[in-house]
Assembly symmetry: C2
Homo-oligomer: 165 residues x 2
């Protein structure tokens, strides 16, 4: 998929930033970054990517679809785990190259393949001298499902299946 | 910067996902995606990237620093506009390749180069048949500063300077 195929060269910067025509801009790999937050609590749940097809299916169905970079395929969130995402609101940013989804969670109401609600379950300390090696703190440790039971495989395999959900 | 330089090959998936040692994983370009939300309201304000240096400076100073892909340089948010971001909390995700910052805004309390508080000021309709070309709705139209006054240039140049802030 070419970038030119979805963002016509004729679009001016003013049209893209101030206009009302959706002109999604995909990166060189045909993907767009997607921020997913809880419609209920506002917390950030996960970060993923969509290709053109995942975006179209999400808009059509209101069910979140992503592109799995590890598997190289379309991925309807929850197709394996049952932990689906119903899109309540969808926004695009100023230059239309990123998306924000507010979702309602189905199933175990968990997004992360580790069994947690959010993938962002660890905090970093601020004011420390080093970026790598600092100690993380668990901000969220509760698991809402057992990954081994849901995905039927151990940790190493889970890694591969992560983005398949 | 090599990926191996920041995520030692010896790190197991279990260490990365369940451990307390920060081992940030940068992409092939040496960047990590960063989600920025308001510590006050929870809304998503912007989406940006950090390289290793931007990450280290952010952790050290508590002031958000990013990597400007358009300019190819380190960028302290607000260095031109005065619209700084003080980091209240910083989280990493399960596989440590994305970050979530909760920030307090300085200056005009705006993040977007268009003058708006959030870059995500337009909504997409759900349930429509086409991804590109659908009509966007302005969810936020108030501008908190005048980009021409702050950046001292017109729209075309603003584009280039966007990620310099």
């Amino acid at each position: 998929m070419s970038k030119a195929g979805t963002t016509p060269a004729s679009k001016s910067q003013a049209d893209i930033e101030e206009g009302t025509v959706f002109a999604p801009k995909f990166d060189a790999d045909g993907l767009m970054p997607v921020i997913v937050t809880s419609a209920e609590t506002g917390e950030v749940l996960m970060f993923a990517y969509m290709n053109e097809e995942a975006l179209a299916r999400t808009i059509e169905t209101g069910e979140a679809h992503y592109w799995s970079r590890s598997r190289g395929g379309l991925w309807r969130k929850g197709e394996v785990s049952g932990n689906t995402q119903r899109v309540v609101e969808m926004r695009t940013d100023c230059d239309q190259d990123a998306l924000w989804l507010k979702v309602e969670l189905g199933g175990a109401e968990a997004c992360c393949h580790t069994g947690r609600k959010s993938c962002f379950y660890r905090s970093l300390p601020i004011g420390k001298g080093a970026a790598a090696g600092v100690a993380l703190t668990f901000a969220e440790s509760e698991t809402l499902f057992d990954p081994e039971k849901v995905y039927g495989h151990a940790s190493a395999a889970k890694r591969t299946l992560k983005t398949q959900d």
